[in-house]
Amino acid sequence: MIDRAETTLSEDALAGIQGELDKYPPDRRQSALMAALRIAQDEHGWLSSELIEHVADIVRVPAVRAYEVATFYSMYDLDPVGRHKIEVCTNISCMLRGCDRVVDHLKKRLGIGFNQTTADGKFTLREVECLAACAGAPMMLVGHDYYEDLDEDKIDRILEGLE
């Protein structure tokens, strides 16, 4: 069970973590660590060291295990990021179908480069490896959503649709 007395996470997040813990044998709580970090990050935007330690407490693993995992995997953000993370694939199938134009357009429109966040804190732009949507190249991931067969117009429409 999770101790609800001292937590910065919502009831929903705690229930989500409990649901993940239930997937694994009771003595294998560490298996839910990746999911717990993801849920905490989704709620707070990024993983501060306090939050990582808090998640470690909830999952009941030593904090060093949680740090190891948080630093190993690329989807954990250890620094603040924009409200929308835009991740463009530049791997081979996307490269062959013109991801350069997608990247140039995004950089120009947002006025930032890779690994930067717009001044209003709305967008963070990143380059990522193949996201297994190569038949829809060029493509990008925005938050949880894939957008495929991109061109400049489509990108403009997608950006305008984001709050």
């Binding site: 709580r29 993801r38 995997y73």
Partner: protein, 446 residues
């Protein structure tokens, strides 16, 4: 999510589905193939029912898989029936089946479609696997970015559980099987099966030394079988055998010697109709290319990587003479890998392509082995230097030397995967590398 976005997403699910044989990709007549009802309407879960009714023993299913000649679809091509026979079914320790839905090999985009369009085929295949190998729990390891496939899988598992097809005492047979999805968090190396097990345990995704193999020491140190999404999802159709129950010959006969059945080829790059094509093994490459609309813009074919970025590149004349099966691609100097066919037209700059591939392996090396950690960095830096016009005449020999020193000297096959592209690009397109180096030398003089 807005209603419009939801509608777009559903429509988008079909966009890469080009040709289906109804094995792993769904029958094209189905409107919402991911629902239990749809799946049942085309014979779904009949195989699991037959198996659980006790009409066949587990050894019989393994024989069927061996006869069907299905080989692992994750890249290495190991026969599925043989792998399943390694599990100590009779021993009463906890055993596990694990599905590898990490799909990270550049050019590969088929497992995503299997999960979005045909999740119940995967569930049924894993449940049959659990029964055959005496495993009562299964995990489906899905790459971290796959939120949509994860949601579809979660919903499908819920449906199956409610219908009594998963959980305790399935269909009154006394067999229990629980299935859970585990979402990754971004790391190509977790596709390597032992790294995947470490990741499932909530650790860094670093590959383990083999032996021991997972069938002896897998998840939580227990006997475990790991197969690719497409491998598991093929099992129900093989057992249905198009009406001839448990007759592996049907599936085998769809393919050619050494390569049974149908396979999904993800055709990407410079073609008119990129997408997933589930077709008979042994189809001539020419035919597959034609299906995909041919080389785009009326251009000529220059080269193809037929199995994902880690298999050797093939110049046009070699691939045009090959068929899409394990033996033929090997005879013509490459490998089937995961069936990820990356097509390059005559305008492609091969140095640039290799630079991008080398960067990938450099970024994704987990760093445990010195040859891989250091070697991938060397490969990337040298190729980038050549591509930037700063190459020197000795660079190509150094590249080959570094690649040869990585190959075969590492814990996992990522090292080899980084070396093979370098060796094959230099073998077939050395001239392009030399040209860039020569131009660099001239501009120094000028």
């Amino acid at each position: 999510m807005t209603a419009q976005r939801h509608k777009d997403l559903i429509a988008g699910r079909f966009s890469s589905l080009k040709v289906s044989h109804g094995v792993c990709l769904p029958d094209s007549s189905l409107e919402q193939p991911w629902t239990l009802e749809s799946y049942r309407s085309v014979g779904g879960y009949r195989a699991l029912e037959q198996v659980l009714e006790g009409k066949v023993d587990p050894a019989g299913i393994i024989d069927t898989l061996k006869i069907s000649n299905i080989r692992g679809r994750g890249g290495a091509g190991f026969p599925v029936g043989v792998k399943w026979s390694f599990m100590p079914r009779q021993s009463d320790v906890q055993k596990y089946v694990v599905c590898n839905s990490d799909e990270g090999e550049p050019g590969t985009c088929k497992d995503r479609d299997i999960m979005r369009l045909n999740p119940h085929a995967l569930i049924e295949g894993m449940a049959i696997g659990g029964y055959v190998m005496g495993a009562t729990v299964g995990y489906n390891y899905i790459r971290g970015e796959f939120h949509e496939p994860y949601d579809v899988m979660e919903e499908a598992i819920r449906e199956a559980r409610e219908a009594g097809l998963l959980g305790r005492n399935i269909l009154g047979s006394g067999f229990d099987f629980e299935l859970h999805n585990h979402l990754g968090a971004g790391a190509y190396i977790c596709g390597e099966e032992t790294a995947l097990l470490n990741s499932l345990e909530g650790k860094k995704g670093e590959p383990r030394f083999k032996p021991p193999f997972p069938a002896a020491f897998g998840l939580y140190g227990k006997p475990t079988t790991i197969n690719n999404t497409e491998s598991f999802a093929s099992v129900p159709a093989i057992i249905r055998g198009d009406g001839n129950w448990m007759d592996g010959q049907w599936f085998r006969g769809l393919g050619v010697e050494n390569s049974g059945g149908v396979k999904i080829f993800s055709v990407t790059g410079h073609v008119d109709r990129p997408g997933n094509y589930e077709v008979r093994m042994g189809m001539p490459f020419r035919e597959l290319l034609e299906m995909a609309g041919g080389v785009w813009k009326g251009r000529r074919l220059k080269a193809v990587i037929p199995g994902g970025s880690s298999v050797p590149v093939m110049p046009a004349e070699n691939i045009l003479a090959a068929n899409m099966d394990y033996s033929s691609l090997q005879e013509h100097g490459s490998a089937l890998g995961a069936g990820s066919v990356i097509v390059m037209d005559e305008t492609t700059d091969m140095v640039e392509v290799l630079e991008r591939i080398a960067k990938f392996y450099y970024e994704e090396s987990c760093g445990q082995c010195t040859p891989c950690r250091e070697g991938t960095g060397w490969l990337y830096r040298i190729i980038r230097r050549i591509n930037d016009g700063r190459g020197t005449p000795g660079d190509l020999d150094t590249l080959l030397d570094v690649a040869n020193r990585i190959e075969g000297r590492t814990i996992c096959a990522l090292g080899d995967a980084a070396a093979w592209p370098v060796q094959s690009f230099l073998k077939h397109f050395r001239g392009e590398f030399e040209d860039k180096i020569n131009r660099a030398a001239h501009s120094d003089v000028a």
